[in-house]
């Protein structure tokens, strides 16, 4: 597992250098299959990071190289989060797919909304932007209530669409919030959904208050993908 840099295409043209985590062994360099992994978004990115990397380790051990690019504005990125929109992220992931020569894609949770549609693949526990935003708003409302401040979803959304909003410590621009609200995983994309029930071992780790790990769930998700690839089923 190594960190590397890749030229991330910018919406207005040009590139920025971003980081990516690459899992590949010497014996399958140049192999036919390479999986682009698109991470969970916003607050869930932290909860799901370890699980995501654990799945990559297992796939790599099964002979499937994987690459997990940073979304611009997250992790080690030099770009500010406040300057991003979901469309920019999708553009970036399409660039990552080209740069790394991905043949398939695996998305985690909200990452499903950013998947390149020209690659076959899988969407683990996909969710919509509206659902994820609603949870972030509710978390803020609960915290505000404990501080004696009354906020409502409608009020926060109106403010967010006009001026942007701080949600769980992340500043999201008005453009981001407006666009994210309408984002859904593409129903026409050649991607198969893998729901949490298919892992048959408890609740999803994005529900946890703190980042956790679950070897059984990582085994199950990696096995579904490795078997599908071994069978030659595109998705």
């Amino acid at each position: 597992m190594i960190s590397t840099q890749w030229p991330c295409p910018l919406p207005a043209g040009g590139v920025n250098s971003e980081m990516a985590l690459v899992a590949e062994g010497g014996d399958h360099v140049g192999g036919a299959q390479r999986l682009l992994v698109i991470p969970a978004l916003l607050g869930e990115a932290n909860q799901m990071r370890r699980f995501t990397v654990e799945v990559m380790r297992r796939l790599c051990a099964a002979g499937i190289p994987c690459v997990l690019p940073d979304l611009p504005g997250t992790n080690e990125s030099l770009s500010p989060l406040a300057a991003q929109t979901p469309g920019d992220w999708q553009h970036a992931m399409a660039g990552a797919a080209r740069h790394f020569g991905a043949t398939h894609v695996l998305t985690i949770r909200g990452g499903a909304m950013l998947a390149p549609n020209d690659l076959p693949g899988w969407r683990y526990a996909p969710c919509t932007g509206a659902t994820q935003l609603r949870h972030l708003l509710r978390t803020r409302i609960v915290a505000a209530r404990e501080a004696g401040i009354a906020e409502t979803q409608d009020g926060l959304l109106a403010l967010g669409r006009a001026e942007g909003l701080d949600l769980a410590g992340m500043w999201l621009s008005a453009d981001f919030i407006t666009e994210f609200l309408g984002r859904v995983p593409d129903a026409e994309a050649p991607h198969r959904d893998i729901l949490q029930e298919a892992l048959s071992c408890g609740g999803g780790l994005w529900l946890r208050a703190e980042p956790g790990e679950d070897a059984g769930q990582a085994d199950a998700l990696a096995a579904i993908i490795a078997m599908a690839l071994a069978d030659g089923r595109p998705a």
Partner: protein, 89 residues
């Protein structure tokens, strides 16, 4: 108030187990009077936000801000009655 459908009861227990990382045998032992908020250490205010979102997603209901009060998460039977009424609406 409509009686809770057995599926709703099971789904609610499953959601509580998933969100609060409780063992299945713990949630299976919940009775109507089992206290939730203020009784289960796992159910802090942040977990409340997660629980409400998960209830909406998995039970296909919408919970408004003004419906979230102290009674809602008081006991298991209160929460079950709430989601049952929501599903019937």
């Amino acid at each position: 108030m409509p009686a809770a459908h057995p599926d709703t009861d099971q789904n609610l227990r499953r959601i509580l187990a998933d969100v609060l990382a409780l063992k299945p045998e713990v949630v299976a032992g919940f009775t109507a009077d089992t206290g939730l908020f203020g009784h289960l250490p796992e159910l802090d205010s942040m977990a409340v936000a997660t629980l409400l979102t998960e209830l909406e997603d998995r039970l296909h209901i919408t919970i408004e801000d003004d419906e979230i009060d102290g009674d809602l998460l008081d006991t298991y039977s209160h929460l079950l009655a709430f989601v049952t009424a929501k599903q019937a609406a």
